[in-house]
């Protein structure tokens, strides 16, 4: 299976725990004979690197100035080079007559590129939530967090499967974004190494979908 992982951080860039999480995921997938293309946002070292079998494509945000350090404009402008690199990867494998099977995106920052890649190439996508905006902003209703909640909501609607780390976060997602999504939320507890098998079984669900 060929997996296109979209993430906002990957080693050596490290802002939170997503970096380690994605790193473990990608390398364990390679050990299990899957092909991993990883697109990561990294302003400091754009380019391609093969890290022990993981094809890492680092892209930079073309817009460096963001008024009032707005994370929203940052996320949207960053989403364009990410999806452009994703499209390049898809076209590269199409030329070799190979498919890209599934997109795995992490957090709301990568929801926009995942949605557009899904619409353009009809590739299913899996969305992992590490946390949700309702908790991060302590339920504040500023325009910024409403916008981020809208993006998370769009991500849940558009994704084919959602992964959360704990049963508690699953229930919180259902509480915020509606219990109608219960059927597509999977809990994968990312401790140790074997959880990657559970992620692969989630991929199998969406790839086998008609």
């Amino acid at each position: 299976m060929r997996v296109l992982i979209l993430t906002s951080e990957y080693q050596p860039k490290r802002l939170g725990n997503i970096s380690d999480h994605v790193s473990t995921l990608a390398h364990e997938l390679v050990k299990r004979k899957h092909e991993v293309e990883l697109v990561v946002l990294d302003d400091w070292r754009p380019g391609f690197e093969d890290v022990c079998g993981v094809h890492v494509h680092r892209v930079a945000n073309p817009v460096k100035t963001h008024p009032m350090a707005s994370v929203l404009t940052f996320a949207v402008t960053a989403s364009l080079p990410i999806e452009s690199e994703g499209a390049n990867i898809v076209y590269f494998y199409k030329k070799l007559q190979k498919n890209t099977d599934v997109i795995h995106c992490h957090e709301w920052l990568m929801v926009y590129p995942a949605i557009n890649l899904k619409h353009a190439f009809n590739i299913p996508f899996v969305l992992t939530f590490h946390s949700i905006e309702g908790h991060r902003c302590h339920d504040c209703f500023s325009p910024l967090s409403i916008a981020i909640k809208e993006i998370e909501d769009a991500g849940i609607w558009e994704s084919n499967q959602v992964i959360t780390n704990t049963e508690w976060l699953k229930n919180e997602v259902l509480r915020y974004y509606g219990s109608g999504h219960r059927g597509k939320i999977n809990v994968v507890w990312p401790i140790g190494r074997d959880w990657v098998d559970d992620v692969v079984s989630v991929y199998r669900k969406v790839v086998e979908e008609p």
Binding site: T65, T77, A87
Partner: protein, 400 residues
Amino acid sequence: MRVLHLSWEFPPRIIGGIASHVFDLSRALARRGIEVHAMTCNFLGAKEYENIDGVNVYRVESYAAGDSFLSWALRMQKNMERSGCDLINFIKGVDLIHAHDWLSGVAGIGLKNLYRKPLITTMHSTEYGRRIGIHNDLQASINEIESWLCRESWRIITCSYYMRNHVSWCLRVSENKICVVQNGVDVNKFSFGFNYWGVRNRFAHGSEKILLFVGRLVPEKGLDVLIEALPNILSNGIDAKIVAVGEGPQREEYQQMANQYGLANKILFVGHVDDWTLRALYRVADVTVVPSKFEPFGIVALEAMAARCPLVVCAVGGLNEIVDHEGTGLKVPVNNPDALAWAIVRIIRDVGFKDWIVSNAYQKCMWNYNWNNIADWTAGVYGAVLHEYYTGSWKPINKV
């Protein structure tokens, strides 16, 4: 040939000049036999899909939430891009993507890379020009987005040679990438029967000469220069009145300025008016004044020419190319109230001269700024880009 136009405004949603430009251009292209699909923001009361004179118009959901105009604009474009993907899949591909300004250009960049089709961008204006410099982070960010858009575009279209030069240095792109295609005007829209005094009396007394100003009330449009010129005009014994059409943040300031001169009754802020009234105003006005400090093209000048209204403009930007001094209007230096007053007085006093420049201007409109010609030029740009595209190597792979 199938072209997808992206624009953040399209009638009935009208905010600036892009709406009418895209409306007229897309219809003229459709008349020429090009299949045109136009994607734009939704608007209360407008249909999600309609076919206007052969142009397929799609209005997509535009969000409301966001912490600033910039983030709203960007998120709206991501939404437009998603709907664009669905549309392109539905109509089975497009040949070209044509974006208008950065407010739809970001969606254009996305679609270009996802479908590997050439992107053509019309730069109607730049942030640097609109604000006369880059003063804060918001403007710097928009400037960077515009520069990025120019980098990603296969060709850039500007509407004047002035803008070609401006875009080239301000957004750091080569002039080789930039084509000039002027704006157009439909002269037939301005010939209709109406009650002359019925319209005129709504805006001025019978004895007053109407000086028409059309534009947003922002510093770059320079209404303050016209207000400063007003005492000079009045002292020449001409009973003139400014009729200012358009809204904007500087309205209070201009109102106060007129009050300080004691001329509050000689300036009328009309706000937004409907299309018919605006065209009738051009017909009844004695002079149309365009005192802009920055003007990429100056569609107002073209409309005045089409309505046979004499024209006084500042010699700046695109206006410099539209108006010939003492041929189709009068040009004065930028930011110079005395020169502006001199030109206005000259046109009002010398009726023979006025008739001469008005008829010259009308002829120029008919021949140079005709939408059919402009559609031909635009189609020429499309043809050149498609030729380069088909002979190049950057393409999607059709076989899977």
